[in-house]
């Protein structure tokens, strides 16, 4: 059994069953990787690297997209 992890996503604490890739995280959150930009611990992770980047306990993730604005 993998150890459960706690990740802060967009300022909210979330629990997951174990470490996973950022792609896996987006899937778990039902988000389209093409529609969001991902920052892991304040570093941007480009889309091609999402599958190879692991989310670990204590990581901070920011998921952003475009909204209405001037």
């Amino acid at each position: 059994m993998p150890d459960p992890i706690t990740v802060v996503i967009n300022g909210q604490q979330r629990e997951f069953g174990g470490e996973m890739s950022l792609s896996g995280l987006l899937k778990a959150l039902d988000l389209d990787p093409q529609a969001v930009v991902v920052e892991l611990n304040k570093e941007i992770v480009r889309r091609p690297a999402l599958g190879d980047t692991t989310v670990r306990d204590g990581d901070q993730v920011e998921l952003v997209h475009f909204v209405g604005g001037g």
Partner: protein
């Protein structure tokens, strides 16, 4: 008066000439004597740029943007709402193939934050343009020019086409141009104020002294403001609230599109000199005894 919405529906240039009346005439006349607007090596048809914030609903927003005739449409970078992830992003409502998406750094108060938001925006994968805002004061939303220059310098080095929102100060505008900004965006008046062009002299001076495109950003309240602003000779206007907060945003968007064209055309045409005395338009000869 009932206004039929299709009256206001213009669309991309080219099709625009197919529409009727004043629009066809002015578009043709403007095109005949005007140069296209080029920013950061890209050519744009419309000199009006519009924001996507503050609309009552997305349908009104898309119809208003269409009616404005704008090519460049601004968007903001924000966290995804994890509790309702579907259909919340602007791209569910706005076709990125139809408009040129210009991301902003609105809400950033430091150079560091603005740089972070700009990098995130570029990673969305549309273009390398950023409307750079570094706000210095919550009440007035006036720019922090120190943070603006610092972040502009970094972003230009990273290959961004920086369109810098600034105040109507010539020296800051010159420095931003020197740093390599693709466009300088002095305000007409504070963001969302609708006070119109408060300082036409300063904006005119900036336009006269800079080689980079000058796009007035923020403060326009109604069509006459847009027209007067364009008459100063600036290259374009970016606005959001004036359209979104109008009673009928779609009608106001169309009005703004016409006003920007009218102001541009009047500037190119060259206005008559102002006189302090009257000069009759009809001949003084040939009057009856």
């Amino acid at each position: 008066m009932e206004i039929r919405s299709n009256w206001f529906t213009s669309s991309v240039a080219g099709e625009r000439n197919e529409s009727r009346g004043i629009q066809r005439m002015s578009t043709t006349a403007a095109a005949a004597i005007d140069q296209p607007l080029i920013i950061g090596g890209r050519e744009f048809q419309s000199r009006l740029m519009v924001g996507t914030g503050k609309y009552a609903d997305n349908d009104t927003m898309t119809r208003a943007i269409d009616a404005s005739g704008a090519d460049i449409v601004t968007v903001a970078v924000r966290r995804v709402d994890l509790d309702r992830t579907k259909e919340e992003g602007i791209l569910f409502h706005l076709d990125p193939r139809k408009y040129f998406l210009l991301a902003n750094t609105a809400g950033c108060y430091t150079a560091e934050d603005a740089i972070r938001y700009a990098r995130l925006a570029r990673e969305a994968g549309f273009n390398e343009f950023i409307k750079l805002e570094v706000i210095g004061d919550e009440e007035t939303l006036l720019p922090d020019v120190e943070g603006l220059l610092e972040s502009a310098r970094t972003l230009v080095k990273e290959g961004f086409q920086v369109m810098a929102y600034t105040n109507e100060d010539l020296i800051t505008a010159l420095k931003l141009e020197d740093v390599g900004c693709a466009a300088i965006m002095p305000l007409a008046s504070p963001i969302g104020s609708g006070l119109g062009l408060i300082n036409p002299y300063s904006v005119r001076t900036i336009k006269r002294r800079l080689s980079a495109p000058v796009i007035v950003d923020a403060g326009v309240g109604t069509a006459s403001d847009a027209c007067v602003t364009m008459e100063q000779g600036v290259d374009g206007i970016l606005m959001n609230t004036a359209i979104a907060a109008a009673q009928d945003p779609v009608a106001m968007a169309r009005a703004m599109g016409l006003a920007v064209e009218a102001g541009r055309l009047a500037y190119l045409a060259g206005r008559m000199p102002r006189r302090e005395i009257a000069v009759p338009s009809s001949p003084s000869k040939g009057m009856l005894d």
